[in-house]
Amino acid sequence: MDTLAIWQWLIAPLQYEFMLKALIVSAFVGAVCAFLSCYMTLKGWALMGDAVSHSVTPGVVLAYIFNLPYSIGAFVFGVGSVLAIGFIKSKTRIKEDTVIGLVFTGFFALGLVLISKNPSNVDLLHILFGNVLGISTGDMIQTFIIGSITLVTLLILRKDLLLFCFDPTHARSIGINIVALHYILLGVLSLTIVAALQTVGIILVVAMLVTPGATAYLLTDNFDRMIPLAIASGVFSSVLGTYISYYLDGSTGGCIVVTQTLLFVVAMIFAPKYGLLKQRSGSPAVEIEGEA
């Protein structure tokens, strides 16, 4: 009886094509973002994700104005913001977090001005918060292509990027080009944000790029397990969040991110080694052995 109820709860939304599409796209985007989020968490690039995602706004608007695919405009401005941050940081004495803060707000503000001058073409709310329930087949294909580029890049450079995050000095000393890795990771970040635009929008994409990695980081000490754990939590949150939004008739992006955040809270409390409960029960997370 209970299983039947759950079954019906799961099946009912699937009779609508838009729900089917939304579930597939958000699950895919959840997986791609979660994979990347492992590197974002370890590299400490949450603010960078925030910066790039806000910076794509003018690109999306301009793409609509000139009738180009939105992803191209978004990518150009995403990469542009990264280059601007790098340029200002290297040429002035201003600290990096300040540079990031001023560049992305500048780009975002430009986007707002553009939107306000072209109100009929672009829906601000869709850019900010996504519109996965209204995703077109064309946009869906764009998302899949862009996301796949990210996935393939990360799969190939998985270990190099890990070493780049962990010990760039050593990476450099054995001939690995860390400047290239730096920009590849930023390029992939821009691509992923573009892919996730439709699903959760630019405000919440940061959560998808940080939360699954953070959740997985609390659950394991092993990077090879961290990736599948992050992807599992990302996909699960995307699917469950989309269902919840259907029954609540609420914001899909919002429901997905709230689900992710709840998963994080659960991990924070119950994680086997680094959870709050474990730490309170008297065995510290990190035991330093005495020299023997």
Partner: protein, 254 residues
């Protein structure tokens, strides 16, 4: 003058009149030194004296504004491609919460020999295994690096340098936070590596221990003040110039 046991060995590290400046601020001026294969050299200087700049110059990370650095006669790009210089970092440079095990870290020493996907071969695994065994860390192979004690952490990164099979090994303050027993074991290992023809450059504050195992010593303070056999270099006057103050307490006993 003490006869260096390795006098006939070829020059491995050649630093030729190297000046490094960061945006016009000179960090190292006119530094020259030659390290032979199969020798251990101590690098002594205060914080900010240019020790890490010299390390970076040897690794090819900072282009000298004048002069040049050659490792086995090769320029830095080729040196890096061939993983010739292994660097053992200071403890503070490492994120110990990172989700990697001892085995993972040592395997990173092999990346330079692997294909783009960094898939370890049976040989890579064997070398990592042997390197861990040599520093007596094999039983710790699956530990996350943060779970290690200070001495074990140092040994893990020393094992990575072994796995890298570089001919030159740079160690940055390897004995801080390490107990006497581990320090002794590490020194024995360094002496063994020296016998096998490695060139070892080791920065340390511990003047007394340097005299026990180093063949040569470099005193540095923005430039190379003195360089050569310990008996010639460790004079009151040189140490005064290195540390710019009272010297009595710096001099090793005996």
């Amino acid at each position: 003058m003490r006869m260096a046991p390795v006098g006939a060995n070829p020059v491995s590290v050649e630093v030729e009149n190297v000046t490094v400046d960061y945006n016009g601020k000179v960090a190292l001026h006119g530094a020259s030194l030659q390290l032979r294969a199969g020798s251990i050299c101590g690098l002594v200087g205060m914080n900010g004296s240019g020790k890490s700049t010299l390390f970076k110059a040897i690794m090819g990370f900072v282009p000298p504004s004048s002069g040049r650095v050659l490792i086995q006669g090769l320029p830095s790009r080729l040196v890096q491609k061939r993983s010739l210089v292994a660097y053992v970092p200071q403890a503070e440079e490492v994120d110990w919460n990172f989700p990697v095990s001892v085995w993972d870290v040592v395997m990173m020493g092999r990346y330079g020999y692997m294909n783009l996907l960094r898939m370890p071969s049976a040989r890579d695994r064997q070398i990592v295994h042997d390197s861990l065994e040599r520093v007596q860390m094999l039983e710790m192979r699956d530990r996350q690096i943060g779970e290690l004690s200070g001495g074990q952490r140092k040994r893990a990164f020393l094992a990575r340098a072994l796995a890298q099979q570089g001919s030159v090994i740079l160690l940055d303050e390897p004995f801080t936070g390490v107990d006497i027993k581990t320090e002794k074991a590490m020194i024995d290992l360094l002496l063994e590596l020296k016998q096998q023809g490695h060139t070892i450059l080791i920065s340390t504050h511990d003047l007394a221990s340097i005299t026990t195992f180093c063949d040569q010593v470099v005193l540095i303070n923005r430039t190379i003040l003195a360089y050569g056999d310990i008996s010639d270099v460790f004079t009151e006057e040189n140490l005064a110039r290195t540390f710019g103050g009272s010297v009595g307490k710096f001099l090793p006993e005996s």
